[in-house]
C-alpha cells in the first residue's frame, strides 16, 4: 500500500522537526504507542496498541529514523508484529515552511501488511492506515497548538 499525503502543522519547521523526530514527542503522536525504548542509532523498540472496529492488535516491533536531514527530511521506518499479522513499511517526511510560517509535511511511503490482517482485512486496511496517519498529525498539530518546545532546550 502506498502512503501519500500532505499535512500542514501550525508551527515552524524547527519545532515540527522536533515533534517528528524526538522519541518523547513521537510517542505522544503515534496512535496507541505505549512505549519507545531506545536501542541506539535512532532506533527504538516500540509497543503499539492500534486498531479499528474492535480489531485491536498489540504490535511489538521497531521504529527507526533514517536519512535524517535536519529540518528538511527523514525516513521513518516501522516494523511490527502481532497475533493477527504484521506490518512493515516506511514513510519519507519532507518539511517545507509556507508563507504563514507554518510547516507543510509531505508524506511518501509504503506500508506492507501481512498475515491474517492482510487476508481478511482488505476492506478496512487502507482506511485504517489513513485514519492512523490522520491521528498522528492531529497529535502533531496538538503539540504545535500547545506551543510545545524543543525538548533539548528545556
Amino acid at each position: 500500500m502506498k502512503i501519500k499525503g500532505e499535512y500542514t502543522v501550525s508551527a515552524a519547521p524547527a519545532r515540527v522537526w522536533e515533534y517528528l523526530t524526538h522519541p518523547e514527542y513521537l510517542q505522544q503522536c503515534i496512535p496507541g504507542c505505549e512505549g519507545l525504548k531506545s536501542i541506539g542509532d535512532d532506533a527504538y523498540e516500540a509497543v503499539l496498541n492500534v486498531g479499528v472496529a474492535g480489531i485491536k492488535g498489540v504490535y511489538t516491533g521497531i521504529v527507526k529514523m533514517e536519512n535524517k536531514q535536519p529540518l528538511l527530511a527523514y525516513r521513518l521506518v516501522v516494523e511490527g508484529a502481532s497475533k493477527i499479522g504484521f506490518i512493515n513499511g516506511f514513510c519519507d517526511f519532507t518539511l517545507k515552511e509556507n508563507e504563514q510560517n507554518q510547516t507543510g509535511v509531505k508524506l511518501d511511503g509504503k506500508l506492507n501488511v501481512g498475515g491474517k490482517l492482510a487476508r481478511v482485512g482488505q476492506r478496512i486496511i487502507t482506511g485504517a492506515a489513513k485514519m492512523t496517519i490522520g491521528k498522528f498529525f492531529k497529535g502533531v498539530e496538538k503539540l504545535a497548538k500547545s506551543g510545545a518546545i524543543p525538548l533539548e532546550s528545556i
Binding site: G85, N112, G114, G115, K116, A118, R119, V120, Q122, R123
Partner: protein, 783 residues
C-alpha cells in the same frame, strides 16, 4: 456404434436426485459429523510469510497448555512422513521435496509449519497462538513474468531457476503459415487465479486400531482409492491394512482430487497417539492452503487469411505452479496445451508451455482444469480475428470447424476428437437465440446509445478420463454389481461422487438393465473397504468410464441370472425378458418368475445348473479406448452500463453435445453449475496476491463466488452425437459449462464495448474495471 439396447424406462428420464432429501434435511454425514470416542483434535499453524527462513520454532508454551497432547513441527516428522506426492510425469520436470510440515523454509502464505493435537478443537486453536516462530524474510516472487527472469529470487535454490519444466510443440509448418498469412493477431491473455471454494472445506479423521493393526481414514476426497495407496507410502503403513472412506463430500470441483499434507499428518498422528485424530479445515485455510485453479499468462498469435481461415497458432504459455506441486499441478496446463485449437482446424501449431514456480499456493485441477484456459485463449483469439477482419464472429467459426465426416478428427497436438457435429450444435444455438435478428436489434439498440453485446463460444473439450495411457495412476474404472439374496441390487462403484448425482443416474442405468425398480438399487461409493478398486470422480469421467464399468458388470450378472432362470423355467436364456421385477420368456409374461425368487435360488444353491456357481455378483474393470470430446455452442447477450461498468446478462443460451443423456435434469444441473462457475471467473473471481505474496482475498468478504441471484436464467438445449468410446455413447458433462461460459461472457462484453474500440478486458470484469476501460477508451477516442 451401439447404444443402450432394449426398451428404456428410466434412461433419459428427468428423475429427481435421490441424494437430495438427505442433503436438504441435514441428514447426511460429512467428516465432521462422524464422532468417535476419545477423538483428539488437530490444528495447523501456517506461515504468514510467503518466503522466509524459519530461524526458530518454540512450541514449549503450546505444549504446556492444559489439554494439549502434542505439538509437532517439520523437523519432528521429516524422517517419518515422506514428501507430499506429485503424480506428474513430464520430461525434464523438476520435482521439489514437499514436506508435510515446512522444514527450514516456508515458500507460501498458508504453508503448514506446525501441528497441535489437543483434547478439543478450542484448545488446539488456543495453542496455535502460543507457538513462537522467528522468521527471516526472503525475497518473494509471485509474478510469472518476473519469476522467469534470470535475476529473480529462486524458490528452490537447487533448481537454479523457477522454471519447473518446458514443453515444446511444433506441428506443421508454422513459420510458413505466419509468413504467408494475410493477418497476424497477437495478444496477451491472462487466465487469473481462482479459488475453488467447495461448500464443505476439507476434513480428515483417522483411527488406528493397534490390536487389529488397521488404519481407517475418513477424508473429504474425490479419490479414496488413490489416497489409500499414497497414505501407505506417506506414513509407511501397509496398504492392505488401510481403509479410506469418503463420506458425504460437500463439493470439490477438483480441489479434493488430491493428496494433502494434512491427510498424511493426521494419519501419522493417529498412529503415533493411538487415538482417533480429527482435523476440519477452516474457511480461511481453505483459501490459503487448498489448491487454486487457473493462473496462466498466455502470449498468443494466430495467422489468419482474409476469408477467415486460421492457418496457424503460436503461443507461449506460462503456467503458475505455485511454490510446491500437489498431485497433478504440472499436468493441468498440459491440458491447455493439448486443447488449444479448440473446435477448429488449425493445421500449424507451435507452442511452448513453461511451468513456473512462485511463492503462491499450488495450482491444480479446478473444474475444467486446463480446458477453460484453452477455450478462453482460442475463443478470444477467434473473436479478435473476426474483429480485425470485420467478419461476423459466427462466420469465422463456421469457416474453421472440421466437417462432420472428418471425425474421428485429429488435431495437431495429437488428440483425436471422438465424434462431433459442430455445425449442427452451433446452428441450433443460433436458431434458439434468433441470431440474425439479434444483430439487427443490436445495431438498433446501439443507435439508441445502448452498449449491447453478443458473445459466442463454440468449444470442444476433452472428457471421460481415461484411457490409462493419458491419466496418471490409471484411467480405468471398476464396479461390482451384486444381487442380494432378497433381490435387492447393490452397485459398488469406484467413482466417488460428491454432488454429481450418480446415486441416481447409475441406478437409472441399472434399473433399466435388470428390469427392477430404482428403489431396489443402492449405489455405494467412496469406501475402499467396500469397493475393491477404483480411481475416482474427476475429468467428467464418472458416467463414461465408471458407468460403463457398472453396466458391463451388471450385464455379466444378468447373464448369469438368465442362465439360472432358464434352468428354473426350462427355457432358453436368450429368450428371457427382465421387466418390472420379473423374468419371463418373451411373449409369456404370465409365466414369470420373480426377480427375487431367482436371486434367492442363486444363494440357496440347491437347484443350480452344473456350470453355475452360487451367488450373483460380477466385477468389471473398464478401460476406455479413448477420451470423449463433448462440444457445444454458448451464446450470451449482455448490456453494459457505461456509467458504472455494471454488466447485465440478458440471455444465455447453451447448446451442448455430451452424447446420450442418462438424466436430463442432472445434466442440466451440471451445465448450470458449470456456467455459474465459468461466469464467476469472467465477472467476479480472482485470487489476488500482493507483491509480498500475501493473499489479499482470503475470505468470502473479498473473494466473490457467484450467488444464485447473480446467475442468469439459462436456456439449455442439446444435440446428441454419441461417443464411440463407450457402449452407452455418453461423453461426460461435469465441466462443459465452466469450459464454455467464461469466454462466452467476455466475448459478449468486449462486443458490447467494441464501438468504443475496446478489444479486450482482463478478467474478472468487475464494474470498476469495465468502467475504467470505458473511460480510457473514451479518452482514446477523443484524443
Amino acid at each position: 456404434m451401439a447404444t443402450l439396447a432394449g426398451p428404456s424406462r428410466l434412461i433419459g428420464a428427468p428423475i429427481k436426485r435421490r441424494e437430495d432429501p438427505r442433503l436438504i434435511q441435514g441428514l447426511s454425514h460429512y467428516v465432521d459429523d462422524l464422532k468417535l470416542v476419545n477423538t483428539l483434535h488437530c490444528a495447523f499453524l501456517r506461515s504468514d510469510y510467503a518466503h522466509a527462513e524459519i530461524e526458530n520454532i518454540d512450541t514449549e508454551a503450546a505444549k504446556r497448555l492444559s489439554g494439549v497432547v502434542t505439538v509437532i513441527t517439520g523437523e519432528d516428522i521429516r524422517e517419518k512422513v515422506s514428501s507430499v506426492p506429485c503424480a506428474a510425469e513430464i520430461e525434464g520436470l523438476k520435482i521439489p521435496n514437499h514436506p508435510a510440515l515446512a522444514v527450514g523454509r516456508v515458500r507460501f502464505v498458508g504453508e503448514p509449519v506446525a501441528a497441535v493435537v489437543a483434547t478439543d478443537p478450542y484448545i488446539a486453536r488456543d495453542a496455535l497462538d502460543l507457538i513462537e516462530i522467528e522468521y527471516r524474510e526472503l525475497p518473494v516472487v509471485v509474478d510469472m513474468d518476473k519469476a522467469i527472469e534470470p535475476d529473480s529470487p529462486v524458490i528452490f535454490e537447487e533448481f537454479g531457476d523457477n522454471i519447473a519444466f518446458t514443453m515444446p510443440l511444433d506441428a506443421g509448418d508454422v513459420d510458413k503459415a505466419f509468413a504467408e498469412a494475410d493477418h497476424v493477431i497477437s495478444h496477451r491473455l491472462v487466465n487469473q487465479r481462482l479459488i475453488p471454494i467447495a461448500m464443505e472445506p476439507r476434513g480428515v479423521l483417522a483411527e488406528y486400531l493397534r490390536g487389529e493393526g488397521t488404519l481407517t481414514v475418513w477424508s473429504s476426497t474425490q479419490i479414496p482409492h488413490h489416497l489409500k495407496t499414497f497414505l501407505s507410502l506417506l506414513v509407511d503403513f501397509p496398504e492392505h491394512r488401510i481403509r479410506v472412506i469418503a463420506p458425504e463430500v460437500g463439493g470439490a470441483f477438483g480441489s479434493k482430487l488430491n493428496v494433502y499434507a494434512e491427510e498424511a499428518v493426521v494419519a501419522y498422528l493417529a498412529i503415533q497417539l493411538g487415538k482417533p485424530v480429527k482435523w476440519i479445515e477452516k474457511r480461511g485455510e481453505n483459501f490459503t492452503s487448498t489448491i487454486h485453479g487457473r493462473d496462466q499468462i498466455n502470449y498468443v498469435e494466430i495467422a489468419v487469411n482474409n476469408d477467415g481461415t486460421i492457418t496457424g497458432l503460436r503461443a507461449k504459455l506460462l503456467a503458475n505452479m505455485g511454490a510446491y506441486y500437489q498431485l497433478l499441478t504440472p499436468i493441468i496446463p498440459v491440458l491447455t496445451y493439448l486443447m488449444i485449437p479448440g473446435a477448429y482446424k488449425i493445421p500449424n501449431i507451435k507452442l511452448e508451455l513453461i511451468g513456473v514456480l512462485t511463492n503462491k499456493m499450488a495450482t491444480d485441477a479446478y473444474r475444467g482444469a486446463g480446458r477453460p484456459e484453452a477455450t478462453y485463449i482460442i475463443e478470444r483469439m477467434v473473436d479478435l480475428a473476426a474483429q480485425k477482419l470485420g467478419m461476423d464472429p459466427k462466420d469465422i467459426r463456421f469457416k474453421n470447424f472440421p466437417q462432420p465426416d472428418e471425425f474421428p478428427f485429429e488435431i495437431p497436438t495429437g488428440i483425436i476428437y471422438d465424434s462431433g457435429n459442430y455445425q449442427e450444435t452451433f446452428n441450433k444455438a443460433l436458431g434458439i437465440i434468433n441470431y440474425d435478428d439479434l444483430r439487427d436489434q443490436q445495431s438498433a439498440r446501439r443507435k439508441r446509445g445502448k452498449y449491447v453485446g453478443i458473445g459466442i463460444c463454440t468449444y470442444a473439450e476433452i472428457s471421460g478420463f481415461g484411457p490409462s495411457i493419458g491419466v496418471a495412476g490409471g484411467g480405468w474404472e471398476s464396479s461390482t454389481v451384486r444381487i442380494e439374496r432378497t433381490g435387492k441390487v447393490t452397485v459398488l462403484t469406484g467413482v466417488s461422487p460428491h454432488g454429481q448425482g450418480q446415486e441416481t443416474s447409475f441406478a437409472q442405468i441399472m434399473a433399466d438393465e435388470l428390469g427392477v425398480d430404482i428403489d431396489d438399487i443402492a449405489v455405494i461409493h467412496g469406501d475402499t473397504g467396500r469397493q475393491p478398486q477404483g480411481i475416482g470422480t474427476f475429468g467428467s469421467r464418472a458416467t463414461p468410464v465408471g458407468g460403463t464399468a457398472m453396466l458391463i458388470a451388471g450385464r455379466q450378472v444378468k447373464d448369469k441370472m438368465a442362465k439360472l432362470t432358464a434352468h428354473l423355467l426350462e427355457a432358453n436364456p436368450d429368450d428371457l425378458v427382465f421387466e418390472n421385477g420379473k423374468i419371463f420368456v418373451q411373449g409369456s409374461p404370465a409365466q414369470a418368475v420373480e426377480f427375487a425368487t431367482v436371486a434367492a435360488a442363486a444363494h440357496n444353491a440347491v437347484n443350480l445348473p452344473p456350470d453355475i456357481e452360487p451367488g450373483l455378483e460380477a466385477t468389471h474393470f473398464f478401460e476406455p479406448e479413448k477420451f470423449t470430446n463433448p462440444f457445444g455452442a454458448h451464446i450470451a447477450i449482455v448490456e453494459v452500463d457505461p456509467d458504472t461498468g455494471e454488466i447485465d446478462i440478458q440471455r444465455y443460451v447453451a447448446v451442448d453435445d455430451i452424447g446420450h443423456i442418462i438424466n436430463p435434469l442432472l445434466v442440466t444441473g451440471q451445465v448450470h453449475g458449470g456456467i455459474a462457475q465459468g461466469l464467476g471467473q469472467a465477472l467476479y473471481e480472482g485470487a489476488v496476491y500482493d507483491e509480498n505474496g500475501q493473499l489479499l482475498t482470503g475470505s468470502l468478504m473479498d473473494y466473490a463466488v457467484p450467488k444464485a441471484t447473480q446467475v442468469p436464467s439459462v436456456e439449455n438445449d442439446y444435440t446428441v452425437t454419441p461417443s464411440p468410446a463407450n457402449p452407452m455413447g455418453v461423453k461426460g458433462v461435469g465441466e462443459t459449462g465452466t469450459i464454455a461460459s467464461t469466454a462466452c461472457i467476455v466475448n459478449a462484453v468486449v462486443d458490447a464495448l467494441s464501438p468504443l474500440g475496446v478489444k479486450d478486458i482482463e478478467m474478472p470484469l468487475t464494474p470498476n474495471r469495465v468502467w475504467q476501460v470505458i473511460e480510457d477508451a473514451k479518452k482514446g477516442v477523443s484524443e
